[in-house]
Amino acid sequence: MKIAVPTPGDTLESPVDGRFGRASGFVVFDTEDGTFTVTDNGQNMNAGQGAGVQAAQNVASTGADVVIAPSFGPKAFQVLKAAGIKTVFSAPGSVKENIDNFIAGKLKESDNANVEGHW
């Protein structure tokens, strides 16, 4: 299983980014072998419109099965659902802590977009 987490950093110890669509990148952690890659999302940080849609497509192209983030806008949520990706709310803490908490079943799945667009 691959788990994507938005972050301004590039390690498992980096914090979770406060925003999904305009995060600078995503750590994508592979639970099979414990490795991770970093996917750049920089083009969307300054996008005029459609950042959430593009970011969701970026995440989908990594093959991620799950995204852990503090919030999902309406368009990003719709695209992630269409791609069959599970959306989960993060808790305060690092990327690694959130991945561990998710695996331990401590994080809550989001069944709706929880913020407006342009949040």
Partner: protein, 282 residues
């Protein structure tokens, strides 16, 4: 002749200047409010609105029976308005720029168009019909101003003196407002912020190859940076409007520049003549 009033920075006095030009004119004049995210010229001109028209744009509609889920449309769209994961595409119509490309690349003819409203145009007049107002207003929640601005411009004529109130900034809506203008007045304020954004606005207008000059609002406040810049760049300063607490109070009640500083009326009356001479000399 069409004069566009623009600025880099917001809140420098574009509407104040555009309304002043309109009121000071002694001939028939059209006031075109292209600041469609917050059109407010009507607060000061108080036109009687006689007609309101919707602005419609085309957005794609997918016939899922014909769609083969190839994703070509989504790959083509540069604005993320279509998304496909080997599925019939999701359509985000508020991101669509109505370019029509998706329907061209669709191999099965599954894309047709539907019209959606993105704003409205109001028509009115004041001062016994001398002043005509064409006002564009973007729908609440809408994000694409240019189609609304294009619609406003479609009602403008080259044969009538026209004042265009542009949006702030230097992005697409501003370019759309300034295109086809004969002359641009850039309103700024003598602060580092005003100067910073004036420079961007000057670059924009030079790129459009349109004649322009600068109006400094509240020129006696702030610093001398804007005047130094204009001197270095050989940019003409058309008017310097003094800071006036009375003007601020007047504006807040929907009054105009001349209610507060009557002696500026003659100055603004002559601006189109000065500009006309400059345009003709080109």
């Amino acid at each position: 002749m069409r004069i566009a009033v623009a600025s880099g920075k917001g809140g420098t006095g574009k509407t104040t200047v555009a309304v002043a030009l309109t009121l000071a004119s002694q001939e028939p004049v059209v006031y075109a409010d292209c600041d469609v995210e917050e059109p407010n010229g009507s607060i000061f001109l108080r036109p009687e609105i006689t007609n309101v028209e919707k602005v419609l744009v085309d957005v794609p509609m997918i016939d899922e029976a014909k769609c083969k889920a190839c994703g070509d449309c989504a790959r083509f769209c540069q604005f993320n308005a279509l998304v496909s994961f080997n599925t019939p595409p999701l359509v985000f119509s508020d991101l669509c720029h109505s370019c029509g490309g998706c329907a061209i690349v669709c191999p099965t003819g599954a894309i047709s168009w539907k019209k959606v409203p993105v704003g409205e145009i109001s028509f009115g007049s004041s001062d016994g019909g001398r002043i005509s107002v064409v006002q564009g207003k973007l729908a609440v929640g809408g994000s694409l101003a240019p189609p609304v601005i294009r619609k406003v411009k479609s009602y403008l004529s080259d044969n009538v003196f026209t004042v265009v109130d542009s949006p702030p900034g230097t992005s697409c809506p501003v370019i759309e407002s300034l295109r086809e203008a004969d002359y641009v007045l850039l309103v700024t304020e003598p602060t580092p912020f005003g100067l910073h954004d004036l420079k961007l606005a000057v670059e924009t207008v030079r790129e459009l190859d349109t004649l322009f000059s600068v109006i400094i609002n509240r020129f006696d406040e702030g610093d001398s940076g804007v005047e130094q810049y204009c001197e270095e760049e050989k940019i003409h300063i058309m008017v310097k409007i003094p800071h006036s607490r009375l003007m601020a109070e007047t504006y807040s009640r929907g009054g105009n520049l001349f209610d507060a500083i009557p002696e500026l009326r003659e100055v603004f009356r002559d601006i189109p003549l000065i500009i006309q001479r400059g345009v003709e000399a080109q």
